[in-house]
């Protein structure tokens, strides 16, 4: 899932100067699970904005709507062509899809989108995947060194790994320490002696913004062929 953090309310207020009609747009998917952008948090921000407007005489008309998944246009369709300010509580993807549907609206971010990760405990979320586009975790005991090593090393821990911790932060386990121990448990220490050559970063962000076409699903010649149509 996508992990996000709340933006401080004063920062959001600073983005709304000059607005009249404000929509706080929540999302029931990832940001709801992160407890920053679901229905409850969106209502909370909506009330805070209304209170601020009342106290400061801003005259804002504030409302809130929470959709199932803000990254898919079909869920946002009822809001299309909205013209006021939108505080998006969805991830950066949802915010941009909303902006595409409402070209005259001013979409501002209510959250900071951080990474692709997983909940680890109550309120704790940890990055797991960097979306590099060429997965190699079969070589690293199912632990991704691109996302989880501070230097995205592909050939083992650097000299700063000690007592299982990363030198960069005492709160971060050394991913390579975890990989070495996991491979040991799996009886695959042979994988550690193999040098992994320089990575092709083109499938990652370095080939420019990515556009993935699933030939089996996309309309067009390939899809017709797959369905046996002519």
């Amino acid at each position: 899932m996508i992990i996000a953090e709340r933006k401080p309310i004063p920062e959001v207020l600073g983005m709304l100067d000059g607005s009249n009609e404000i929509l706080v747009l929540g999302c029931r998917s990832c940001t709801a699970i992160c407890l920053v952008g679901g229905e409850k948090e969106s209502r909370g921000l909506c009330e805070a904005l209304a209170l601020h407007s009342e106290l400061r005489g801003k005259g804002w008309k504030v409302e809130t709507v929470t959709v199932e998944r803000a990254c898919e246009k079909e869920f946002l369709a009822p809001l299309a062509l909205f013209k006021g300010a939108v505080v998006s509580m969805a991830c950066g993807v949802g915010a941009q899809v909303m902006q595409e549907l409402c070209p005259e609206a001013r979409v501002v971010p209510g959250v900071n989108t951080s990474n692709m990760g997983a909940p680890e405990g109550m309120g704790v979320f940890v990055e797991k995947c960097a979306g590099c586009g060429d997965c190699i975790i079969h070589l690293t005991a199912g632990i991704c060194p691109i996302a989880r090593c501070a230097k995205n090393l592909l050939n083992g821990p650097c000299g700063g790994s000690q007592n299982g911790l990363c030198e960069v932060s005492k709160d971060t386990p050394c991913a390579w320490d975890q990989i070495v121990r996991a491979l040991e448990r799996q009886g695959r220490l042979d994988l550690l002696t193999m040098n992994i050559p320089p990575k092709d970063w083109r499938p990652s962000r370095n080939g420019g913004p990515r556009r993935i076409v699933n030939q089996e699903a996309a309309p067009g010649a390939a899809q017709k062929e797959w369905r046996g149509e002519r």
Binding site: L153, N155, C158, S161, G164, T193, P198
Partner: protein
């Protein structure tokens, strides 16, 4: 055939001495030249660090060239933190053209430790991949496979930290670096000689000492506070309590630190598979001549 004096010394079976020089923080070169003249003859080659501890300094290429001009043989350090494969190949081709021969391939300290923690790091390659790419250059092709009419002449080195974890993997990683092209290896400073001996015996067991020249690091400490700093603040260091106590109890800790370092140098030189020592005397470079004299290891 040797491309550098360091290679010649190591390949001929002589015991090598290398020492570290931190490049200046500004464009002022007077002190670096002075230090180079002071250190001439104290070691076979001198490492010029590459924005060490992720603090901005004069580039290792420029300071290596200044050392060359002053008659020292440089070991140019090159981290993966600040350069992608394009910049790395370009920089070592340029370094070779300027007369630099020894290159030490390292991951580099993470930028959050330095004076620009907001920086974006590169890590297009890791230090093992850096070795693969640079060895390929010396064999006559860049990493895209294009032939070079005149390949750079390089003697390639790597770093090894016997004191980081997981301990057993450290020797495996050394083997990986040898496979990737490392011809010499400089280790993290040895303060815990016992652990270093265990590391070396594992390396010898695998025959790595016959495939690569291992140069053991040493550091003179000025006080027990310096030892405690190494113990508590430097990641991947092992500092025995007896060593801290010895410095604490000494009537002249500075002299005791020098004595301790000389003892370590001598002890390391007798360990099987150790082919040299590397002295890191941070902001205390003028002690290097005395260390090599008193240990009897002056080249």
């Amino acid at each position: 055939m040797s491309v550098s004096r360091l290679q010649e010394v190591l390949d001929s079976g002589k015991f090598a001495v290398t020492a570290e020089i931190g490049p200046p923080r500004s464009a002022e070169t007077g002190r670096l030249r002075e230090m180079a003249r002071m250190l001439r003859g104290s070691a076979h080659a001198f490492n010029l660090t590459d924005n060490q501890a992720a603090n901005v300094r004069m580039s290792s290429i420029a300071s290596s060239v200044i050392c060359l001009q002053e008659g020292l043989e440089p070991v140019m350090q090159m981290t993966c933190r600040d350069r992608n494969r394009i910049a790395m190949q370009s920089d070592v081709i340029g370094a070779s053209a300027l007369g630099i021969r020894n290159v030490l391939c390292i991951s580099g300290d993470h930028q959050t430790f330095g004076n620009h923690p907001q920086a974006k790091n590169v890590y297009d390659l890791d230090s093992i991949q850096e070795l693969m790419v640079l060895r390929n250059l010396t064999k006559g092709t860049n990493w895209s496979g294009e032939a070079l009419p005149e390949p750079p002449q390089l003697y390639l080195g790597a770093a090894s930290n016997p004191f980081a974890d997981p301990f057993e993997f450290r020797v495996t990683r050394l083997g990986k670096k040898v496979d990737a092209g490392a011809q010499f290896v400089q280790t993290q400073c040895v303060l815990d000689v016992e652990r270093f001996k265990r590391f070396m015996s594992l390396a010898v067991e695998r025959g790595l000492h016959e495939k690569v020249h291992i140069i053991a690091g040493v550091i003179p400490l000025r006080s027990h506070k310096a030892a405690l700093f190494m113990k508590n603040k430097v990641a991947g260091m092992s500092v025995p309590d007896e060593l801290v106590d010895r410095l604490r109890k000494a009537s002249d800790p500075r002299e005791e630190g020098i004595k301790l370092c000389v003892e370590t140098m001598n002890e390391l030189s007798s360990i099987e598979g150790v082919h040299g020592v590397h002295i890191t005397a941070i902001a205390w470079e003028d002690i290097i001549p005395r260390l090599v004299n008193e240990s009897g290891l002056r080249p």
